[in-house]
Every structure is written in structure tokens, then in C-alpha cells.
Symmetry: C2
Subunit: 307 residues, 2 copies
């Protein structure tokens, strides 16, 4: 039902925006101005080197009845938490668990509803990695656009991120599709056994308050379209409302034939810079007012399925 439904398709589609059904061929034919390059144009002109293959060692396949959600982890931003999540995956911790929460305009969260499943090798407590130190020569494609939540925002290795030069710290931001490690009040009370994906307007207030470990690269719509939970915080009230997680696997542990080959647009290229500009000031005949701005979480980071 959702074959080939990728972020790329969504992102491409977004630029065409909100066509009324009454757009006539005549209107389309009346195009006279030379439009600026659109995002679609820029992606068309991209070279193989503008894309990178997801790292199978850091890629998770979360399998549900309706399909596969693909998450790429970013160990450079949360080495201890990523290591523990991978340990949990390797011991089969998530297999047979469930989506336990769908909180509208916020997050979908999964884990063990009964809180009874035992840990084998994974740690019960992992230090929160809300920010990490960076070195001056660390890669960072900075956005020139103002941001209220961080001194600097931009992209690192195809992840949306922010930095504070004063403290020399960096962190992944809570944009749509970001994956975080649920925790209690103590900063080391999370361990990766319950994870959430952002499925609403970016809750950037969570930045620097919780560990972000990666991003959904494919299949986010399987999480964002889950029925909302009617309990407090969007938790499901009845077991039958929960969606089964058949399994979670590391891509590298899955036979090649069963993998999905995804490439994400690199964010340290001229192509990406052009794409951001095309979104900051949209080309085409539809837009009448140029925003001359793009907010970090409105920057698309296209993913494509490679045959």
C-alpha cells in the first residue's frame, strides 16, 4: 500500500503546494516568467556524489504490520545511548513490543507496555547525552537564518543540528522525524528501551533536555498516522489499541536481499545549499511572496530509494 512512498516524494510534492482542483490547463499555459530553480530541478541536477548511502551499522528497521520504518542513528551525537540501543536491538528487546503512545502534534513512542521485559546485555541506566562537545573543525553546514532556540543551526551529515560556540556544544534538534530516548526526571533514567519519534510541529523546547539519537529516514507516515491515544499524554488506554512491533533489526544484520537501499542527500554540498535557497525563496508560478527565510525544521533532507 505504501510501496515507494518516501520522504523524497513528500519533499518533492511539498513544493507544488496547495493546488485547488480548479487549476485549469489555461492557467498553466499562461506561465510567462522564467521561474527560479525549484527543489525538483535541483534534485534532478544532483550527482551521485551528492548522496550518501545510509550506514547499515547505524540503521534500524522497525517492522510493523503495515510496513517498515527506517531510522538512522547518529552515534557522533550520542555514542553511549546509540550503543545501548544497538545492544537492545541485538538482544531482541523490541521484538513483539508495541507502539504505546501517539500524542497528537507531538510524538509517537514505543516500548514495553508491561515494563516487564528483562535486559540481557544492555544497561538499565545510560547517561543523558543532551549535548556533546565539538571541535572547531567539526563539519557543520550552518544556515544563515535566524533561530530562536539556538545560537547556530544547520546540518551535520544529513541531520538537523544546532551549536553553541560559547560552550562548544552541539546537539541534534527536535525536527519532524527526530528520534529521542524517553527518560524520567533523572538525566540518566533513559536507556533507549523506549524511544519516540517527533510527529508534529518541532518541539524545540526539548532540545538540550533529552537525548536525540537519529532520524526516521523512511516510513515516518506509519508513525504519524497512528490513531491518537486517548489517555493522558496520548498513551493508549487499552492493549488492543496498540500497534505491534514485529521486530527491530540493525540493517547490517538483515540479509542483503531483505534490505531497502536508501540514500540521503548530503548536506555539505553546493547542491544542498542550492536546494535550501530554492526552499527559502520558492520558484515557480504559485508563490507570490518570497519568505526570504527558512526555519531549520522546514529544510527538507531528501531520501531516495535506490533500486
Amino acid at each position: 500500500m505504501r510501496t515507494n512512498f518516501t520522504y523524497t516524494k513528500i519533499a518533492l510534492a511539498a513544493i507544488f503546494s496547495l493546488l485547488a482542483s480548479s487549476v485549469s490547463a489555461q492557467q498553466k499555459a499562461s506561465k510567462v516568467s522564467l521561474p527560479k530553480l525549484s527543489m525538483a530541478d535541483i534534485l534532478k541536477s544532483s550527482q551521485a556524489s551528492d548522496w550518501r548511502v545510509l550506514n547499515p551499522d547505524n540503521t534500524l528497521y522497525l517492522e510493523m504490520e503495515k510496513g517498515r520504518v527506517v531510522i538512522e542513528l547518529a552515534p557522533e551525537f550520542a555514542p553511549k545511548n546509540v550503543a545501548n540501543i544497538k545492544a537492545l536491538v541485538k538482544e531482541g528487546y523490541f521484538d513483539g513490543l508495541a507502539m504505546i503512545r501517539s500524542h497528537d502534534n507531538y510524538v509517537a513512542q514505543w516500548g514495553d507496555p508491561g515494563e516487564k521485559r528483562e535486559f540481557k546485555n544492555a544497561a538499565k541506566k545510560v547517561e543523558g547525552e543532551f549535548t556533546v562537545k565539538y571541535k572547531n573543525d567539526a563539519p557543520f553546514t550552518r544556515l544563515p537564518d535566524v533561530d530562536g532556540y539556538a545560537p547556530q543551526v544547520g546540518h551535520v551529515n544529513s541531520f538537523a543540528a544546532a551549536r553553541d560556540p560559547k560552550t562548544q556544544t552541539t546537539w541534534l534538534t527536535h525536527c519532524y522525524g527526530a528520534i529521542g530516548v524517553a527518560r524520567g526526571n533523572e538525566t540518566d533514567s533513559g536507556n533507549g528501551s523506549s524511544l519516540y519519534a517527533v510527529t508534529g510541529h518541532a518541539p524545540r523546547n526539548l532540545d538540550r533536555n533529552i537525548t536525540v539519537v537519529g532520524r526516521v529516514m523512511y516510513g515516518i507516515e506509519l508513525l504519524s498516522s497512528l490513531p491518537r491515544g486517548t489517555g493522558a499524554l496520548g498513551f493508549y488506554e487499552k492493549p488492543e489499541e496498540r500497534t505491534l512491533i514485529k521486530s527491530v533489526r540493525i540493517a547490517a544484520d538483515v540479509p542483503e536481499a531483505e534490505r531497502i537501499k536508501l540514500e540521503v542527500l548530503r548536506t555539505d554540498t553546493a547542491n544542498f545549499k542550492a536546494l535550501v535557497e530554492a526552499q527559502r525563496n520558492r520558484g515557480g508560478d504559485w508563490y507570490k511572496f518570497a519568505a526570504n527565510h527558512i526555519e531549520l525544521c522546514n529544510v527538507p533532507i531528501p531520501v531516495r530509494v535506490v533500486k
Copy 2:
């Protein structure tokens, strides 16, 4: 299934954020610091005068099999478009039509999939009202927080809005739940017969490019959890994928007994200012880092069901 599931519940819930299932009673008991007021505290202390009843003449009930979506229109921002939408509703235009599009992290859109339904009294073309003029003494509760998309942002009559003092224009912003009038390339090609609701990260790039007429005040989760369309732009490819719209009615035309009484928090009060501050710098034991900022579309505008 979603009785009493309101924005208020969602908004209240949001402040408790992402509890890991492992929060122990012991951790809760270790609370020693006096927390700042939370949003829940502030709402508890609100007076009757801090709320306003939705105007039944400008409130739409969109009825689907799974329940009712309630939209409040803001004629002061789009008088011609709101008048035409109300004319369409009064002539029964939407009854039996469908949700035609669910575009992940963007919008849900409804209208006539066949584009064959006739207009009776409503106009086929309505001038776009992307911005409107405002007077210096027009009410506007300005947010002090920086915004990249507009010179000034804030709230008018419980709607998120922006202003440009240079041009003395104001407009409703594309925050989550905003309702807009789909159009083609021509600015007068929309007429309200196809409307969309924002169901993803605020596409503020649409601001000043299309007419925003109001906001979903209740039942947004019925739109945001729709299965995503697999066609271009998230349109449904097969008729059976579409969700029926049983009817759309103006609340004032619905018998009192069948109405749902909703109140929205007023945004021109000290209570609202306190609420915004409680969200800008969160109270409680969970938050470790104070954002000292709130983005316009992260400001909750609570709605409550009155018995």
C-alpha cells in the same frame, strides 16, 4: 472513542513530556526544589473571563464517521473568503464530499473529488486575502520572541497571527491546525470549496501566499491521523481511500442540543501571558535547560469543552 479528547488535554499533556516508563515513585518523591508555575497551574487559576465561547456564527462542524471536527473562522482576516465558505456550507456544498488528500507533515485537504458539484449562491472566484490592513489600535498581543518569517508575531482573538508595520498588514499564520483556502496559480482561483488543515510542522512559507480563514479548535486528530495518500502531493489514488464528509454545518444552524460548547483561552489577558512564559521557560522537575524562547507555533492556545 475520542469523547472529551480536546486540545486542552493535549496541551496540558504536552508539559509533562516524555516520561520513560521507568520513572519510579522514589524519583517523584525526591522533588525538593519549588518548581515554577506550570501551564496546568496557570490554567487552573484562570477565571471565567479568561475564556471566550466560540462564535456559533463563525464555527463550522465538519462531521465524519469517526466524529466531529470543529473549525472557528476568523472573518476579520478574510471577510470575502469566510463569507463564501459560509455560503457554500449553507447550500450544502460539502455534504457527501470527502477528504481528498493527506500529505504527511503538511496538510489534510477536502473537497469534491469529481469537481462536478454545482455552486448555487457561492462565488466561483474569490479574491485572495493573503493579508489584510490593520489599524494602529487593532488588538494584537505581540510575542517578544524573534521570528524569521515575519517582523511581528503574536495573537489576535485566540488566533496566531503576524504583522508587518511597514505595510500595516496582518495575516493568520500557518501553525498546526490552521485552515486555508486551496488555490491554483491565480490569486483569485480559490473559493473555499476545497480547504486544507495544517497537520505537520508549520509551513510558514505559505504565509502571505494563500488565504488562511481560521483554525481547528477540536478534533484535529481526526484529520492528522488520516492515512497518508500515496499519490502525488498526498492525494488519494483510489476513491475507497477517501474519508467521507457526512456534512458541514454552521454551529448556529445546528440545534442547541447537538452543539458542542467550546471555550478557547483568550490571548489578550495576563493569564495568557503567564501561560506563554510557563511554556517559554518550563517549570517542574523534568526540564534541565531553559529555552528562554518560544516559537509562535509552539504557543498552545487551549480549548476546553464546557458541560
